[in-house]
């Protein structure tokens, strides 16, 4: 049931109140922006975990 991991990006990016905030900011980026960029890195990681699980 590793596939359920793929639901996490949906919750993380569609629940807007989770991240619609200015602080904490990072390198001048308000939270809203760097949070979304972070999910652009985490989503492939989750997909990779599911992909590895398939082959095992």
């Amino acid at each position: 049931m590793r596939r359920l991991l793929l639901l996490i990006p949906f919750v993380a990016t569609l629940m807007v109140p989770l991240y619609n905030a200015r602080e904490p900011s990072l390198w001048g980026f308000p939270f809203f922006y760097w949070y979304l960029f972070l999910w652009l890195l985490l989503t492939p990681l989750l997909i990779w975990i599911v992909y590895r699980g398939r082959r095992a």
């Binding site: 990006p9 807007v16 905030a21 001048g28 308000p30 492939p44 997909i47």
Partner: protein
């Protein structure tokens, strides 16, 4: 349109355009095969590996119009325009789960289009026709908008006193594109995508480092944007306002589901060499989303730089203001070539649909493979010239409105295509009625809102119309299926018998796993 002609920029631009044109024609010899077969001309022989597929799909899905329209939206409305980022995050888990199934069944039955699969799965040629027509209709305005991406670049480089210069340049570029797509098929955009995507990455990396440095860093860029939005009255800002969360999230979700139903997405995916090529690309393609997110921020950079431009012209104006002219020419070439790759693949995707799902079943049932390939080649020409005429002779807003509707329309094929990959439970005529209901409801709601993408539902807020229509579509299809099944106990059995696919067709072949 007025102002100086940027000769240096034009020269650099011309060099890259010539290079790519050469590649377009050379592509016919690449991975050499008989292009008189539709799966060779229109799917590159289904043998693109992980890296080629990455360039091809990246160049295909992240289009030139996106590169100019998303920053323009962020420039105008702030955080709301950033919905493109969650959209292109959640698109990839969907791609990972759904598209390998589609690839497997299409490979096993030599299906070239989504409508081919629908015909095989349901044995209902009207349903297949509905899916094919929706695909062609949704694609036409999308191709037209790629031309807009090129047009803004031409206008930024200037023509001096030449009347209609941008239109002439556009027509020339498109004729060249049409000819090499005709000769080389999907191999042409696949080869060109290497050059184009590499250029886009160079452009993006330079832009996100150099431009903010000139403007005092990202903190200053965001601060300037916030100040400008406050000065405009504060209805929109760099964070989402009250009531914007629901339209933001629903647009992201609906767009993500719509993306892989488009014919150009299906064509790019089916050209992959294995289902694992597709899965690996689901992990690798988000790199383009990072580039897209950074390009979106150019909307704020344009505000901070006080660029004197509006709408889609802001990115070219920002480039001219920030870079030496030779590099501006390089960036313009990247954007314009960014229009050629998707325009080629879109016209091929539409041509495959017309050939397989309109021409063959309704006009000539007994086409030879060579005739089939010939029909597709000619259709790709017609589709592209249609888009050119669209842009040159109709108001731009018309193309933008139709592209918006196209997204709503293509989403209405989801129950038939995507749910069809998992279950044969739905009655095929019920799916057809659900599709028609979704098309009418989606178009009507959008029309009632003055061609806006969202509709306010009481108690929920403004929701993407494509999603509203999709939910109605699925509900109607399910209800009618239940009624039909209840009325005729053996109707289900009769429908089942028309399924040309077997459950194992959707799974990976045992030996395919190692590749």
């Amino acid at each position: 349109m007025s102002g100086a002609v940027h000769w240096v920029a034009w020269t650099v631009f011309a060099f890259f355009f010539a290079l790519v044109t050469l590649l377009g024609f050379v592509a016919a010899r690449w991975k050499k095969a008989d292009l008189n077969h539709l799966h060779e001309w229109g799917l590159g022989g289904r043998r693109f590996g992980t890296i080629i597929t990455w360039f091809l799909l990246g160049g295909d899905l992240y289009t030139a119009y996106t590169m100019v329209a998303v920053p323009a939206l962020v420039f105008a409305v702030g955080a709301y325009g950033f919905f493109a980022v969650p959209y292109t995050i959640i698109a990839w888990p969907i791609f990972f789960v759904v598209m390998p199934r589609l690839w497997n069944v299409c490979r096993r039955h030599n299906y070239v289009t989504a409508a081919d699969f629908v015909h095989g799965r349901y044995g209902n040629r009207w349903l297949a026709l509905a899916v094919a027509l929706t695909g062609v209709l949704a694609t036409m305005p999308y191709i037209a908008l790629q031309l807009v991406g090129m047009q803004v670049v031409f206008e930024a480089m200037g023509f001096g006193g030449i009347r209609d210069g941008a239109e002439i340049a556009l027509a020339v570029a498109f004729v060249v594109l049409a000819v090499y797509t005709y000769t080389s098929g999907l191999r042409a955009p696949a080869l060109i995508a290497f050059v184009k995507d590499a250029m886009v990455y160079v452009f993006v990396i330079a832009a996100v480092i150099i431009i903010p440095a000139q403007l005092g860093g990202y903190g200053a860029v965001f601060a300037a944007a916030e100040q400008a939005f406050t000065a405009k009255g504060g209805a929109t800002s760099i964070l989402l306002g009250a009531g914007q969360a629901m339209p933001f999230a629903s647009l992201a979700l609906g767009s993500a589901f719509a993306l892989f139903l488009y014919p150009h997405a299906v064509t790019g995916t089916l050209a992959a060499s294995s289902s694992n090529t597709i899965r690996r690309n689901a992990m690798l393609l988000p790199a383009y989303s990072i580039a897209l997110g950074l390009i979106a921020l150019m909307g704020y950079m344009a505000i901070a730089a006080h660029v004197e431009a509006k709408g889609t012209a802001i990115v070219p104006a920002l480039i001219l203001a920030s870079f030496p002219e030779w590099f501006a020419g390089f960036c313009f070439a990247a954007i314009a070539l960014g229009a050629l790759v998707p325009a080629a693949i879109m016209s091929i995707g539409a041509a495959n649909l017309v050939t397989r799902n309109i021409w063959r079943p309704y006009i000539n049932r007994n086409m030879t493979p060579a005739q089939e390939s010939q029909v597709a080649k000619i259709t790709s020409l017609i589709v592209k010239f249609g888009a050119l005429v669209f842009v040159l002779f109709l108001p731009l807003q018309f193309a933008i409105d139709l592209q918006l509707l196209g997204g709503i329309w293509i989403l209405q094929t989801l129950p038939t295509v995507v749910l069809g990959l998992y279950t044969r439970w739905f009655n095929s005529n019920a799916l057809l009625i659900g599709w028609a209901s979704g098309m009418v409801l989606g178009t009507g709601l959008s029309w009632s809102q003055g061609m806006k993408p969202v509709f306010r539902l009481p108690g929920i807020g403004a929701v993407y119309i494509g999603l509203i229509a999709l939910i109605a579509n699925i509900a109607i299809a399910a209800l009618i299926t239940l009624i039909v099944n209840g009325m005729t106990a053996n109707a289900r059995g009769a429908e089942r018998g028309s399924d040309a696919t077997a459950p194992a067709d959707y799974e990976d072949a045992a030996e395919g796993f190692s590749s």
